[in-house]
């Protein structure tokens, strides 16, 4: 945290100490590239209101580019708009439009390569293919930007904030919509994603691939194809996020695929087809999460070991837990289950009989997805009931032997 | 009026009517007689179009009944069992029949004849069996039709009503109607019938005028006359 503040302060100081060049229709510099050309390192280029057609503008020196009253950089669908190839560049206050589209080249509004200590903030990006794409750039801050894609399911949607091989990144307070993935991290370590809103994206609100030791907190993901996917990653902390309305076929709030040692705490999952879909993920700690009105709260496929589900609230989900194997190496304890029908005679706050969160039908659906067509049919109610009385197919040790009688507060 | 030509009817393997041909061209009262299961009711029901014969044709007033259901305007029917929709009143029941077909405008006289005025608003489910039978009688006699088919008309009626019914039947004959009736009570046949048709195991074994029958067998009692007549045809076990 303090490191980031340090960078910010540095950048601010640099703006005041070094020279300042202005760009406008009446200024000495009429175009942004010409101003950058004549700027010395650590100068500030102030761009006044106006429309500037720009594409493939390359920045090769550390400077501060600042828009006053939101000048517009128009890419005219011709490819990249800004390419940052230098450390310590600050880029703030611009409106950016019309990035080019290609099958083989991932054009972005703002692109960086091997450029550390960047600050990209307060920009409004519209009709982008990729929004902000940073490669092999570390100690970067991407803050308070608005990125809007083309709201299309087709190939012409890219990712909003796309980081590849980066470290110590901080993505904060951005609003991302109409993209493929709102935020995409591939090989990104030791980074934070904080308080972003990611919504109406085709694929994911936030997507981690091969990334380790990252945290994401206080984000809001809604109406995405799926909320968040965390794949092939380690040590990810997911705290206090909200996953809403990821409704749709094969949609989920959170997808965990081959991840280890994660913490999932105090998140709210509401109205998702599947709140958390877990595949081959181990040593995950789920605590104090709310699962409300989802199709599935937790859907487990593949081998998942030593996971702990404690003190969560499972309220009005069609299926609380679905499981594909008989083997259970996971702990469910002290959760609140709204469909628990047991009693608490000794009044200690915990139900006296264990709760079995896996219904036979969810087991069947997991095996043969097509059987979902029988959802809520009378026959299914009957076999669910008989399975609950005498478990045959569902893992008989998969149960919460200390279900809470009341909704858990924290 | 009614012409039955070679009709036969089988229920699965059971032959209930075998090759029966009958014609009724004059008004009068015809008693259809025979033991239980001889096919009396089935025969009447074929005329009413309720039972569809396997072979043969039935014409009413020259019209083939399998072609047009409107001929039933000319036939009134008093069924054996009187069961009616439980939750309807007598008045509503009368209205149903009145709306279905041509009805004598003076049908309320019939209602009072059988003392049914007090029950007009009563639900049919609350009526006794006898009262229901009276309603049944009213329903059939209120119809404006040339032909009356009465299946065991006196069953369940008290003696006073039976007498009234008999008078009613006679008056309808005098109006020039053809009345076909089945009964097990010989007294009624004796008293009312002009002609009898005798069925046995689905075949018509006898048809003739009551007076002729009595003459030919030299018997005063109709019952005996019939037994004699059928005896002549080698039938030993006769139940009427």
């Amino acid at each position: 945290m303090s490191r980031f503040l340090g960078i910010l302060t540095c950048l601010m100081i640099s703006a005041s100490v070094f020279g300042q060049i202005e760009v406008c229709s009446d200024c000495q510099f009429k175009t942004v590239p010409s101003a950058i050309e004549s700027a010395s390192p650590h100068d500030t280029v102030l761009v006044h209101k106006g429309i500037y057609p720009i594409h493939n503008m390359v920045i090769t020196k550390p400077i501060t580019l600042r828009g006053l009253n939101r000048p517009v950089l128009d890419g005219e669908d011709k490819g990249y708009i800004v390419k940052i190839l230098s450390d310590s560049v600050s880029f703030t206050g611009f409106d950016i439009r019309r990035v080019g589209i290609s099958h083989t080249e991932d054009y972005a509004a703002i692109y960086s390569f091997r450029a550390d200590y960047l600050e990209i903030s307060d920009n409004h990006l519209e009709d982008v293919f990729f929004g902000i794409r940073l490669e092999k750039s570390s100690n970067v801050v991407v803050k308070d930007n608005i990125v809007k894609g083309r709201f299309s399911r087709e190939f012409d949607s890219g990712n909003g904030i796309h980081l590849w091989h980066c470290k110590n990144a901080r993505v904060e307070g951005n609003d991302l919509s109409g993209l493929r993935d709102g935020i995409y991290f591939e090989f990104v370590d030791d980074s934070y994603v904080i308080a972003n809103r990611s919504h109406h994206n085709t694929r994911y609100g936030l997507h981690y691939m091969f990334s380790n030791d990252d945290d994401y907190l206080d984000n809001y993901f809604y109406n995405n194809g799926a909320g968040v996917a965390v794949m092939f990653s380690k040590n990810i902390k997911m705290i206090n996020n909200r996953f809403s309305h990821n409704w749709g076929t094969s949609s989920y709030g959170l997808l965990l695929k081959e991840i280890y040692d994660a913490e999932i705490k105090m998140n709210l999952f509401e109205k998702n087809t599947v709140a958390i879909s877990v595949d081959g993920s181990s040593r995950i700690y789920y605590r104090n999460n709310d699962f409300i009105q989802n199709g599935w709260a937790i859907r487990v496929t593949g081998g998942c070991y030593v996971n702990q589900f404690t003190s969560n609230n499972f309220i009005s989900n069609s299926f609380d837990v679905s499981y594909n194997s008989k083997l259970n190496d996971n702990l469910f304890q002290g959760n609140f289950w709204s469909s628990y029908s047991g009693y608490d005679i000794d009044r200690d706050g915990w139900g006296d009989i264990p709760y079995r969160p896996v219904k036979l039908f969810s087991y069947v659906v997991n095996r043969t997805p097509e059987t979902i067509v029988l959802l809520r049919s009378f026959f299914i109610d009957i076999i669910n009931f008989s399975e609950r009385v005498t478990p045959v197919f569902t893992p008989d040790n998969l149960m919460d032997d200390q279900p809470s009688m009341k909704k858990i507060k924290w | 009026m009614v012409a039955i030509q070679e009709i036969s009817k089988k229920y699965r393997k059971l032959e209930v009517l075998k090759d029966i041909s009958l014609e009724f061209n004059e008004p009068g009262i015809i008693g259809i007689l025979g033991p239980n299961g001889s096919g009396k009711t089935t025969l009447l029901k074929t005329i009413l179009g309720m039972v569809l014969p396997d072979n043969g044709t039935i014409r009413v007033n020259g019209i083939d009944i399998s072609k047009d259901y409107n001929y039933r305007n000319e036939i009134a029917y008093l069924p054996q069992i009187a069961t009616f929709p439980e939750n309807l009143s007598v008045k509503e029941l009368l209205a149903i029949i009145r709306d279905l077909r041509a009805v004598d405008s003076k049908y309320m006289e019939l209602v009072s004849l059988f003392g049914l005025e007090q029950f007009l608003s009563e639900k049919l489910g609350n009526l006794s069996g006898g009262t229901r039978q009276k309603v049944n009688v009213v329903l059939s006699f209120m119809c404006k039709s040339e032909i009356l088919i009465l299946d065991e008309p006196t069953v369940g009626l008290d003696p006073v009503s039976t007498v009234k019914l008999k008078e009613l039947i006679k008056s309808h004959r005098d109006m020039g109607k053809l009345i076909l009736l089945t009964t097990h009570i010989m007294g009624i046949v004796d008293e009312l019938a002009d002609e009898i048709v005798y069925l046995l195991e689905g075949r018509m074994v006898y048809r003739g005028f009551v007076t002729d029958l009595k003459l030919s067998t030299q018997q005063d009692s109709l019952e005996r006359a019939i037994v004699n007549e059928i005896h002549g045809k080698d039938v030993v076990d006769l139940q009427i």
């Binding site: 087809t273 199709g295 069947v364 097509e370 979902i372 959802l375 049919s377 | 069961t83 939750n87 279905l100």
Partner: protein
């Protein structure tokens, strides 16, 4: 137009006879009670719609079946009297069938509609789902009343008619889905989504259930298998086809009943 007049007459009396019966009032009261209790308990219209759906798709066919059989056998003698009247048989049976199924439908509409109206349905977004639920309840009532009257017509033995009708209900309500599930599990390695679509069309109860679910929020679950159901039932084409199927399920039993009434002896 005289024939429709006569059918109307038969309908009127059957309807009157039905709505004055004790059992139909019990049926109405049951729905009233159910509606009030459900809404009182959770005050949430949308989850009430799901609970009511679960009840409706099982109960309306059963009630339709029972009342159809009961009405047929109880009014058999009177029906015979009617058959001897100058009226076409089809009009009698259609009239009676409409009388029974519409009076049952009326109980459904009033019994569930009243509590929902009182609890503010008119202003709720659920109104469309609710109307659809009622419509489906009616469709099932018509379908199963027709089926049971048809079976009764073909069986003069009251016990047999009753038995077969209830068995048919049991078949569609439970057994069919058991067979369905087994088939899906047996053929799980085959592309079975088209097949399951077909299977769900061939059972009015399954069809109704899916039609309701697809309109509710949990429809997304149905898309779990790769969207076949959602794309089918979500498209106009699918709605039309399933609507036609449901209509066929409503009308075919009545048609079959009328058809076999023409050839039957009374």
């Amino acid at each position: 137009m005289k024939f429709t007049e006569k059918m109307w007459l038969i309908f009127k009396y059957s309807f009157k006879d039905m709505i004055r019966a004790k059992w139909i009032i019990v049926y109405l009261l049951f729905y009233l009670l159910l509606g009030f209790i459900l809404l009182f308990l959770n005050n949430d219209l949308s989850s009430s719609v799901i609970t009511i759906m679960n009840i409706i798709i099982i109960l309306t066919p059963l009630i339709g079946t029972l009342f159809g059989v009961m009405f047929y056998y109880n009014s058999r003698e009177f029906t015979e009297l009617l058959i001897a009247q100058p009226i076409r048989r089809s009009r009698i049976f259609m009239g009676q069938y409409l009388g029974v199924s519409l009076s049952l439908s009326l109980s459904l509409v009033i019994g569930l509609g009243l509590p929902f109206l009182i609890f503010g349905l008119a202003n709720s977004a659920e109104i469309f789902n609710f109307i659809m639920l009622i419509f489906i309840g009616m469709a099932l009532t018509f379908s199963f009343t027709g089926l049971s009257m048809w079976i009764s017509l073909r069986n003069s033995n009251r016990i047999k008619g009753f038995g077969y009708s209830v068995l048919l209900w049991l078949f569609f309500a439970v057994i069919y889905d058991g067979i369905f599930l087994s088939l899906l599990l047996i053929f799980e390695n085959y592309p079975i989504d088209q097949f399951s679509l077909l299977m769900s069309m061939l059972n009015p109860i399954d069809l109704s259930r899916i039609l309701v679910l697809i309109k509710l929020d949990i429809s997304a679950l149905m898309g779990y298998t790769g969207a076949v159901f959602q794309t089918f039932f979500g498209s106009n084409w699918g709605i039309v086809i399933s609507g036609i199927m449901l209509l066929l399920w409503m009308t075919t039993p009545a048609y079959m009943m009328v058809r076999s009434s023409k050839r039957r002896d009374f």
